[in-house]
């Protein structure tokens, strides 16, 4: 309790400082128009990334199937790995997280370390995608893209790098098509869904996925976002915005913050049938680790994953808890398996300063030893 007036005075002075920061921050915010306008030319390279406010690494459209696109990032190193790496991002949020800005870009870092990087962009789901299933995404789009890359490079197998839900898809793919995957890299990927360490897993056990899909068709991205915010409601809805005032005076930091916010709220809707399968088969049934998951009638057996596996996860991930990711190595058939952990959260894996300098080089080194 603040009994003494001088303490109260101190409090007021402190708040006045805070308010002054806010004032400067607001001026800064208003002037950001010019800052972003200067960078307009870079949007040419974004390939439709509506949230981008800075440079994106240059890429080329290789293949398109409706909304889904396969990009190849322009190599940046003199010596490029002969086996390309194909990145499969989650359908929740956008892949732009991997290439947020020049100094926070795992894509750019991989390119700088001699990797040849391809990426699947799932696009923005709309009503026409309502009945697309996991078979369509895995047996269809991922398989097509892998074949295209194999053919372009005249190789039998590619490196597959799956992120979050994209990691789960990549794992399923690698189990079904092991001959086409040279190395499998999974990042912050949920594998074992039977955990109480994440609220999402607890909540998922008690609601009817069928009702949700039947009610909505495609599930709105807004709704998914609200659910994620609920995982840390006070930190993510209030504390974050209180704290931002203290960095608003710094244009770079403010732009970084806004870019990040824009990414967070850039959430495509989830295709109904795919989400229904994902929730029922994985979140509620945990069938992948039980060895009961079937894709288009074929049993997906993780022991078929015999290629080298690198599993990367964050110690403080609240969205995909480490225990869920770590399970992968227990179930694969490969003898060459490795784990890489960082003291970061789910998003921190891609944007934190702790990972920027070391993550991509380690992945590149791991790949290079195995091609």
């Amino acid at each position: 309790m603040l009994t003494f007036p001088h303490k109260f005075k101190e409090s007021l002075e402190d708040f006045n400082k805070y308010a002054a920061s806010l004032k400067k921050g607001m001026e800064n915010l208003a002037s950001l128009n010019e800052v972003t306008a200067d960078q307009a030319e870079h949007h040419v390279n974004c390939g439709g990334c509506r949230a981008c406010r800075a440079c994106c690494t240059k890429k080329e459209l290789i293949y398109q199937d409706g909304k889904r696109k396969l990009y190849r990032y322009t190599p940046r190193a003199k010596k490029v790995c002969p086996v390309p790496t194909m990145v499969v991002y989650a359908m929740v949020n956008r892949y732009t997280m991997l290439d947020l800005q020049p100094n926070r870009s795992i894509i750019r870092n991989l390119l700088d370390h001699g990797q040849d990087v391809y990426l699947i962009d799932w696009g923005y789901t709309d009503r026409m995608d309502r009945f697309l299933t996991m078979e369509d995404y895995i047996d269809g789009f991922i398989n097509d893209c892998v074949d295209i890359v194999r053919e372009r490079h005249q190789i039998a197998a590619v490196n597959l790098l799956g992120v979050c839900q994209g990691g789960t898809f990549s794992t399923v793919y690698a189990a079904l098509y092991p001959e086409k995957v040279k190395n499998l890299i999974t990042m912050v990927t949920p594998i074992d869904f039977d955990t109480k360490e994440c609220l999402l897993n607890v909540w998922a056990s008690a609601f009817d996925a069928d009702l949700m899909i039947d009610a909505y068709g495609n599930v709105p991205g807004d709704m998914m976002n609200s659910a994620y915010t609920m995982l840390q409601p006070f930190s993510l809805s209030i504390q974050k915005y209180i704290n931002v005032v203290q960095i608003m005076e710094d244009t770079d930091k403010l732009t970084d913050f806004l870019r990040m916010e824009a990414w967070i709220f850039d959430s495509p809707d989830q295709p109904g049938e795919t989400l229904r399968q994902f929730l029922k088969e994985f979140y509620q049934g945990n069938k992948l680790v039980k060895g009961e998951f079937k894709l288009d009638g074929r049993m997906v057996e993780l022991k078929n994953i015999t290629m080298p596996v690198l599993n990367i996860y964050g110690d403080f991930d609240t969205l995909v808890p480490p225990v869920s990711s770590k399970a992968l190595l227990k179930h694969v058939g490969s003898k060459d398996v490795e784990e890489l952990t960082y003291p970061v959260g789910h998003i921190g894996m891609f944007v934190s300063g702790k990972t920027q300098k070391t993550l991509a080089p380690k992945i590149a080194e791991w790949i290079n030893k195995r091609v």
């Binding site: 309790m1 603040l2 009994t3 007036p5 001088h6 303490k7 109260f8 005075k9 409090s11 007021l12 402190d14 006045n16 805070y18 308010a19 002054a20 806010l22 004032k23 607001m26 915010l29 208003a30 128009n33 972003t36 009503r127 026409m128 309502r130 009945f131 697309l132 369509d136 269809g140 109480k196 609220l199 607890v202 909540w203 056990s205 008690a206 609601f207 009702l211 949700m212 009610a215 709105p220 709704m223 609200s226 915010t229 995982l231 840390q232 409601p233 006070f234 930190s235 809805s237 209030i238 504390q239 915005y241 209180i242 704290n243 203290q246 806004l258 824009a262 967070i264 709220f265 850039d266």
Partner: protein, 443 residues
Amino acid sequence: MPKEQADWLKTWQDSQEKLMKQYAGWGEEWMANMLGNTKKEPDFLKGWFKSQGDLGGQFSEFSKRLNEMVKNTWGDKIPADMLKFMNISFFEEFYKNWLSSLELPGGVKTSPGGDGGWQQATDFFHSFLDKDNPYFSSFSNGKITDHMNRVFGMLQGALGQEESALSDILNGYQEFFGKMFDSTTSQSTEKLAEVFEAWAKEMEKNLSAPKLGINRELAHDMSQLLVLSQDYIQTYSKMARLIEATGRKAGIRFQTKLSESALRNKPVNKFVDLCALWSVENEAVFTEVMGSQEFAKLQGDFINAGHRLKIQCNKLAERALEPTPIALKRDLDLVIAEITQMKRDVRTLQRELREKGKETQMAREAQAAAEEEVKKTKIALKAAEVAAQVEATRVKDAEGATQVEAKKAKAAGAAAEDLAKRVKSAGKTVKAATTSKTKSKNV
């Protein structure tokens, strides 16, 4: 920055400075009094509350104007969702909370902030449950009352009635849901659920009344809507009760932490620190509760109830549109499902074609390779024939030479034999001559 905003910020800062001076003067007076340097009794409460009121006004205006500024300067550049979360009015709320953590001089405890702001955290959580939030309301971008409005509007249009029992139901719905989302306590929500039940029964009676002129199926669907709505309100009320209890628990924990800090002579008197403490303590309590099976079940029940209600609304909307030429959602879904399947088939065919293409290519390559092999074999055969002929000639030549050699050898043999004979004969002659010579000597 627009001039108007810049002017406002300047005015605001000036007022803030002025207030600071007032506080400083008031504090000095109070301190002097405490030390006994003056006998003048400061008018604590008057000065305090006046300043509080002025400061409260300052904060309130600050929040309001800041919201406007954010929207004006950034509204077209960031997603609407972000703006929704970036609700600056929480500065005002926090200010109230901050004030209520203060203890008045002379041991008079009061809550100058009035309602205690977000100390109980329930208000904050209520914002998650409210009609605009897509997560709990289960109605995504539309408010539930708007949704109902549309459905009932369509039904009325379809039935061609301007005034009907439908209007009564719609008005009732709007009233109930409006109250529900505005309820600040779980008690009032529970009471509302009871009232709704009685009202729904009354409405069900109306549904079967002839004046409405609706068929049995539609009456059944409407009745079902009432039942599901009741379920929705009841599950909402259960959730609200748990959140309220958790909010109380979190509030006590926050207050305890504040007191502990004060007792350690480290009062949390900075705005940012207070916010951080509030956030951390509330989050700890809430996430523990939210991780429980009890919460998961309540939330699951609430969300399921919302989804059932939404499905029923959709069904009613479809029913209203049935007599019209407008395509129904289910028709569109069928078409989309069919197109999706056709795309799948095309993909399978394309893949098969690619495979066949590869097989054909491989067969062509194999044929070309085989033809090449035949050619090579023929050439090799010819070469072998030539080589064989050469070899044969050589062999023949060698045979001729051998025969000549044989003849020569034979001749040489004969000569040798002849020579041998001659040698033998000569030997005999020599022997005979030697014998006769010996005899002559002996004689």
